[in-house]
């Protein structure tokens, strides 16, 4: 249990660092492009300010990623012994992608006025592309744990290993798509929210307004597209992991016209959900595109193979709810962009975006909880149980406390650092920037 908590904690932090690290370079590239096209120094300042954010998150993401690559073995040696060679392919490629990202970031951060300006811009784009690629590869490895393929299990021995097939497991595409869109939505809203706050406080309005618009448009488009990728993901889960889907929906009874259950408190003992809104037939429709086909409920899944229902259900509801809220805000933004330009300077409009700052990341964490907790008691779906994979070393509890303390300190420190960066914007970027070269 301590091992699981430690892993959850480490991944929970890594997911935030790496989402920002892989999405912000795209914002940066857009504003850099605007600068190169318009020669407006504000865009150069925005690019530089964001590139510092990217550097901070890249470094912390890299460090937390290194820690994770060790933790896999430190905490789950039995899992890694068998799974390493099978699902290692995406990790080997991820190493390459990440390395390229690090090199490109070196060029970008230290390359102002040193290189041809379009080459310099291009290195920034490479940072984004290779970051996104590493994200996709890591999610593909996680997808393998949900839909293990590329090997045959005979008498406890893993044979016929095919790493390529394992990498392109059935769930990789739906999971990677869902995660990437989520990363764009979450980062877009988070960055836009911070800039909205600064606009509301009337600090460097021009600087922050331009930043806000770039970040928000990424977040908005992603938030509006997300339900589509969510639908693809849910269909995949229904096919491969009926127990997870049933827990997500707190769907106890297998019956025709399976209802979609919204909200409510799952009562595991009496196998029902209290205070929920039920839409008859909707779950069947969403999974099978027809209202009648029954969806497998928890009654058909042995108790020993059921994930914790309440946690999975709440996390799923939270994710969907926040996703919907962000989508609604996205629509408001598009209306403002198309019809009501005046909204951009209205306090209520900015306040909505400030309120939405953390929503995307809460949704990301909730979604990740759904996929990980929903897979329990398995570490490899249907193949290896989490309890059989854990390290034999006693006293993992202490290690968990240590890591908790470290990550807690780290997150406070990063917040502190970003706060100081944002606070210094007037000093760093307010005056007419002196042109070097």
């Amino acid at each position: 249990m301590a091992a699981r908590s430690q892993m959850a904690l480490s991944l929970g932090f890594h997911i935030i660092f790496s989402c920002i690290g892989m999405v912000m370079p795209f914002f940066m590239a857009v504003s850099h492009f605007m600068y190169l096209k318009t020669n407006n120094l504000i865009y150069q300042n925005v690019t530089k300010a964001w590139s510092k954010g990217v550097a901070i998150f890249f470094a912390t993401g890299a460090v937390s990623g290194t820690v994770l690559s060790f933790e896999l073995g430190l905490l789950w040696p039995t899992f890694m012994k068998h799974a390493g060679p099978i699902f290692g392919m995406p990790f080997s490629l991820e190493g390459t992608a990440f390395f390229i990202e690090a090199i490109a970031l070196g060029f970008f951060l230290y390359g102002w006025d040193r290189f041809n300006k379009w080459f310099h811009w291009f290195t920034g784009v490479i940072v984004g592309i290779s970051g996104l690629t590493s994200g996709i590869l890591v999610v593909a490895a996680n997808a393998w744990m949900n839909s293990p393929t590329g090997f045959t299990l005979v008498n406890g021995k893993y044979t016929d290993i095919d790493p390529i097939k394992a990498m392109f497991n059935p769930a990789w595409f739906s999971q990677a798509l869902h995660m990437c869109v989520a990363a764009f939505a979450a980062t877009g809203f988070a960055v836009a929210g911070v800039h909205a706050l600064m606009i509301l406080r009337k600090r460097n309005v021009d600087f922050h307004m331009r930043s806000f618009k770039i970040a928000a448009i990424f977040g908005v488009v992603a938030a509006i597209l997300q339900p589509l990728s969510g639908d693809i993901s849910a269909k995949m889960v229904a096919k491969r992991q009926p127990a997870k889907l049933a827990a997500m929906e707190a769907h106890f009874k297998t019956e025709p016209y399976s209802p979609l259950i919204i909200g409510g408190i799952p009562d595991v003992k009496n196998k029902k959900v209290d205070y929920a809104i039920e839409l008859p037939g909707m779950l069947s429709f969403m999974v099978y595109d027809d209202f009648k086909t029954p969806v497998k409920g928890l009654d058909q899944i042995p108790l020993a193979d059921q994930p914790p229902i309440a946690v999975t259900h709440y996390a799923f509801q939270l994710m969907v709810g926040l996703g919907m809220a962000m989508m609604a805000l996205g629509v408001v933004y598009l209306i403002a962009l198309a019809k009501k330009k005046s909204w951009f300077s209205k306090a209520w409009f900015l306040k909505l975006f400030i309120a939405a700052t953390p929503l995307g990341f809460i949704a990301v964490e909730a979604g990740w909880t759904v996929t990980e907790v929903g897979r329990q008691p398995w570490i490899i779906q249907g193949v290896m149980r989490t309890a059989d994979a854990v390290t034999p070393m006693p006293g993992i509890g202490y290690s968990f406390y240590l890591f908790t303390a470290v990550y807690f300190t780290l997150s406070i420190a990063v917040t502190f650092l970003l706060y100081r960066q944002i606070k210094m914007v007037p000093v760093l970027y307010d005056h007419e920037p002196t042109v070097t070269n």
């Binding site: 510092k52 550097a55 901070i56 890249f58 470094a59 912390t60 890299a62 460090v63 990623g65 290194t66 820690v67 690559s69 060790f70 073995g73 430190l74 040696p77 039995t78 890694m80 012994k81 390493g84 060679p85 099978i86 290692g88 990790f91 080997s92 490629l93 991820e94 190493g95 390459t96 990440f98 390395f99 390229i100 690090a102 090199i103 490109a104 070196g106 060029f107 951060l109 230290y110 040193r114 290189f115 893993y158 290993i161 095919d162 790493p163 390529i164 390290t391 034999p392 070393m393 006693p394 006293g395 240590l402 470290v406 420190a413 650092l417 100081r420 960066q421 606070k423 210094m424 760093l428």
Partner: protein, 341 residues
Amino acid sequence: MMIYVVMGFLWLALLLYLVMGGADFGAGIVELFTSNANKNRTRRIMYNAIGPIWEANHMWLIIAIVILFVGFPVIYTTMSTYLHIPLVIMLMGIIARGTALTFRNYDAVTDNMQAVYNKIFVYSSFITPLFLGIIAGSAVSGRIDTGATDFMTAYVYSWLNWFSVAIGFFTVALCGFLAAIYLIGEAQDPEETRRFIRKARFMNIAAVVAGGLVFIASVEEKIPLVQWVFGNIIGILAVSAASLSLGVMWYLIIKGKRFIIRVLAGFQMTMILLTTTYKHYPNIVILKNGGYLSLLADRGADKAIEGLGIALLLGSLFILPALGYLIYSFQRKDKGDVAGH
């Protein structure tokens, strides 16, 4: 066939991590042993030198780990089970160091927080290679006991012994030595050059002393290190080449050469790694019961090795030219900047 490609990459990743990552850690170690009066200046030169490439240095370790867990899962999991404690300490060091370095460069407000970052940076620069060395020493010290039933034997004495600890200090001294040699080439006036030469001499002596301690500890712990190093022709040749190049290097330092001394320092590291790995090849972990974990016998499935090898070859096609160009352009431009100001 692919297995040899993979092994080659593993060795190369370790070497590059030792040389480039080592110089990187060493920068913090040099700072630790620099008087307060000169600290700020040393720090600035050091940051200009390692800033653009430090993220890349970090990657060699990740590559080595990925090679281990994809290609040699038994070795990876044995080490991560029995060397859990030093690995966790090393990870803490990596976290602290990476964060402190980022912070001292990206904190927009300049105040006494800088002093905190500096403290964290220099101490973690010391602790991380110390434990890296301990882990490397433990792999061959024959103290990893897979049959142990009590906590201390299985998880503490596996790495807490004189031999491993001596190797830890030897690693620290090597890192400091690499960094000091590297910094000689970055110094901007004769006074500074002299200062870094003194540092390099100090680190060189420290490395020799720590190396001596490793041999003494090996006798104490009944590890046949002398026979491993000098019992074969490659070992003798490598040690002689390293010693010879050390003499040449010091001659060239006094002559004021800047680039070739870096190459020679890198060459010495290569020889050290060659000596320490050659005798045991293909074994990389020696167990208490006299058994070995071997890169050949304990490798993963053929398909996995094949995929890994292809991924590494493909990756190096992209990485090596880009990395080379990165280092090259900052070397060149730095010199240009200095002249221009």
